[in-house]
Subunit: 572 residues, 2 copies
């Protein structure tokens, strides 16, 4: 049944995905079952007569495409595309927007428009690398989605699309579309500090330079790493309403003012880390899918707000609920053009525990939340991966189920290094919640040169662990891991008195560490390594390859920095 | 101030310890302050006249000894000892037991007897590798202590002792001593299953063969690893009383019957692991101090008993207590000849949490606790190192402080690989509570030979993590870690339906895993490796050396087993 391929087209490969993948992506508006069923049927019935219509005659050789898909590469697809290019005609029929809109399902065909062209992408749905999210554009324009997901702005994507052209949109409807599309969903994103290193502009993803990161125990909000999944929503604090669902008290709705006044204000110093922090080190081993974060997708701030626990109790939470529910879901107010919001969930026991310290935060570092960090209200889930700390919080749902969002179900999970996109089963791994022990060297930078005359070297960095586990030691090596010294660690701003030891299991904030060591005599290069130990005595793994995973998350191997020693010229 | 040494005598080195170490060892009977003060004074005033007496003239050259001590080696000490040997006379004065007993402090001198000889070991106290525990024998006989701590039964120990001889015990008192000493404190220890591999007989420490370990999800009690620190106490269930101290209700005393009837019986399946499990792998890197455990100092059982939380609530525990107290201490009924009991403590929040599942267990695998496992009552602290699961429980103390016991303060802690016995500061590391993620291969055994004709190989093992973190994946490699496959894991007896997923943070039981893989064509040897991942996505470190520590605890690097493939003779 499987057809092997001879050559591989990497562009097409990137866009391919198994039919199976479809089962994992669902949205509220378009239940996935029909898509899957259709996919299964289409893999078996390859002739056109069963669904013949004008435009189907123009579709590319999708039998070839499916063969390529099954084989896990796009080589056959690419071949098929080129074969059919010659057959295309310049004269296309004209369609109205209404006609296009009537094709918005796999049953009726999936049509989209792009710059005035009308495309029947029914056959492409199963191959879409983003899964059936593509169905959100069914019957409408692609532009708003491509503006959200900039990965589409590549030549080979346009080439693929052109193969599916079936007509042109009439002039009047095209004009209407253009008027609407001049709105860039990211146009109202806030200004950002220019020192940030941008990994992606839309949505905005950026990290501070490492040297700045370890300058302060509390990361100034401007330098705090930013990881948005969608455009920053404009929220009016006067009309903002937080909804709490799924509890015996019925729907609880809270204004910002009520959230601030009805519940005690609670302050927690907590480090947030992106699951993809240090992904670039995994990319160096073998390419992964995701933003190429350096070591600074982690920052530390003080957060103030109402405790989620208190709000849930006010909404009727009690032991009865614990028996039927297991999760607390969060929905952001950030949404794509279809209204799909960012979403995530955390285990109920974390949410309601007195010691969980989960906040509905409205302040960051003593001021209102900045727009990029969730104004006016975000969830702060100390000890848990950044992705569950939902920003611009709109809704809280206590449920028996995890969030059904893409980011909970089909992203932010860890897999074995032997698992690839052909074999991955997202259901087989738990959604990342607590993160493993982590540390990195912020100074010196990799490749730095140190003068022999300076006689000693100061190495600095951060260390943190998930689940409230306190970092109890950081070991530093200058010889690639053969010998180790213990770094000085601190849990406050330099020069300030250290905060007391946090209660067991509630060490939410990172530690900064530093060690000054004499330059080893005769050494021409230092292979600096750091590794942290937390109070469960978990340690970082030695190397990256054995923890490599296809999404490049959970990158917490020893951090390594190489430094050259320049001999003093007078001595040479 | 520090004197360097030229050569090292390894026997003496082993027995040496910094004066500083003394500050960390204290017992209720003999507060440590005088010992430390004395030590400090003696390092400065080196002449004998200030405390002159008959026997002091016989003491060995302790100025040399102290110099050696300061330099961290025994070389100078050894030199001093030999120099003074010649000066000793055969004719010793005769002392009564009463005279010996009057020397039981550093102020009055510390005398001990051994086989009829009288020894003034005042100067040796600071050098005793077991710390000031040696003071427990002050004024009495060494034999009962040496019977407890078999490490003393070595020739060089007797040689060192002989240097401190100051007299002989009179015949009558010697006779009395001998009568008392015929009682072996271990004589009432229970029978054990002969298949156990004994690491130490007195106290009894043994583990099952690995192949037996992975045969059953619930380890039969007879095969469950045994780790005793002292003789097994004989406890009469009819007169057994458990004391609970430190709570507003005052002292609560519970008989076994009351414990069983006043509180609901709660059953937990929990894995216990010794901190020293897999220590032999650390020993292979560099010698550590401790029993040479293989991979089977870990087992899984069902435990039933009263919840500690319920008992503490009955004794008056409430939120007020949480504000002043931080620890729950446990004292065993197992004791040494001085009455010092085994002791340990756990954080209060683990003890009182509804989700902590800490038990005062009176049943193991559905029957009364066996004598070796704490009959009639032991603590079971799921997710926490075996050493805190105090057996033969006598007393529970809610306190602001950790247990002051040797095992809590000066043992069962982790250190950097660069830390040795000269530099270790036990106060710098937290007492081990939650253990890190762990896994090991139980079959095949290292060095096994597999026939090529068998075509495939089944690899089996266990995996577990501390703190209730569930093992979510076990990766197995047959090529030393280059490529990985995912093992099948199970959480029940083979053939039985798997238990449901435990609630988040309450995965107390291990998982057994198994993978059957074809023998790689052409391979002559398989380098089998396993590593586990828990739901905080912590992973085991790759190698042993970077996590090596002087006590050989927390040995959780990838487990490696090498297997040879024998080619089928017909094919050769």
């Amino acid at each position: 049944m499987f057809i092997s391929t001879v050559t591989a087209n990497s562009g097409a490969m990137l866009l391919l995905r198994r039919c199976r993948g479809l089962t994992l992506l669902s949205t509220r508006r378009l239940p996935v079952a029909p898509a899957v069923a259709s996919c299964a049927v289409r893999l078996r019935s390859s002739s056109a007569e069963d669904q013949g219509s004008y435009q189907r005659a123009h579709r590319p050789g999708w039998r070839h495409a499916v063969a390529g898909l099954l084989a896990g590469t796009g080589a056959v697809l690419a071949y098929g595309l080129h074969q059919h290019k010659a057959e295309q005609e310049a004269a296309y029929p004209i369609f109205s927007q209404e006609e296009v809109t009537s094709h918005r399902s796999l049953q009726d065909g999936v049509w989209v428009t792009y710059k005035g062209g009308v495309y029947d992408i029914t056959e492409f749905v199963a191959m879409h690398p983003g899964g059936d999210k593509i169905l959100l554009a069914a019957g409408g324009a692609l532009e708003p989605f491509w503006a959200l997901y900039a990965v589409h702005n590549q030549e080979h994507v346009l080439e693929m699309l052109s193969e599916y052209k079936v007509g042109e949109l009439n002039a009047e409807d095209l004009k209407k579309q253009k008027t609407m599309q001049t709105l860039d969903p990211y146009s109202s994103d806030p200004e950002r500090h220019p020192v940030l290193r941008i990994n992606n502009l839309k949505p905005f993803n950026a990290e501070p330079p490492p040297e700045i990161l370890s300058d302060s125990f509390i990361t100034p909000s401007a330098f705090f790493f930013k990881r948005n999944h969608l455009p920053v929503p404009q929220v009016d604090p006067a009309t903002y309403l937080l909804q709490v669902e799924g509890l015996p008290g019925g729907l609880l709705t809270l204004s910002l003012e009520e959230l601030k006044t009805r519940f005690p204000k609670h302050t927690v110093t907590a480090t947030l880390q992106c699951a993809g922090n240090r992904r670039s080190e995994m990319n160096a081993v073998k390419q992964v899918k995701g933003l190429n974060w350096g070591i600074a997708a982690i920052s530390n701030a003080t957060w103030s707000g109402a405790r989620l626990r208190d709000v849930l109790l006010a909404a009727g939470y009690g032991p009865d609920v614990a028996r039927r529910a297991g999760h607390v879901q969060f929905e952001g107010l950030d949404k794509d053009v279809t209204g799909t919001t960012y979403g995530a969930s955390i285990p109920l026991n974390k949410a309601v525990s007195e010691e969980g310290d989960v906040l509905l935060a409205y302040e960051m570092n003593g001021a209102d939340l900045p727009a990029d960090h969730g104004y006016p209200v975000r969830v702060v889930v100390p000890g848990v991966v950044g992705a569950r700390n939902v920003k611009w919080l709109g809704k809280i749902i206590v449920s028996a189920d995890e969030s059904s969002s893409h980011w909970q179900q089909n992203d932010y999970k860890g897999f074995s290094p032997g698992t690839d996109w052909d074999t991955v089963n997202f259901k087989s791994a738990p959604a990342i919640q607590e993160l493993p022990v982590q540390s990195a060297i912020t100074a010196p930078a990799d490749g730095a040169v140190v003068d022999r005359s300076s006689e000693e070297l100061t190495v600095k960095g951060y260390a943190w662990s998930g689940g409230g586990r306190e970092v109890v030691r950081v070991d530093v090596s200058l010889d690639g891991g053969k010998t180790w010294q213990v770094a000085q660690i601190r849990s406050s701003e330099k020069g300030q008195a250290p905060e007391g030891t946090p209660p067991t299991g509630r060490a939410w904030a990172w530690k900064l560490w530093e060690i000054t060591a004499p330059l080893p005599p005769g050494a021409k290069e230092l292979k600096i390594v750091c590794k942290a130990v937390d109070n469960s005595y978990n340690m970082q793994p030695d190397t990256v390859a054995p923890i490599w995973n296809l999404r490049g998350v959970l990158s917490n191997a020893w951090h390594r920095v190489n430094v050259k020693i320049r001999e003093d010229e007078r001595e040479e």
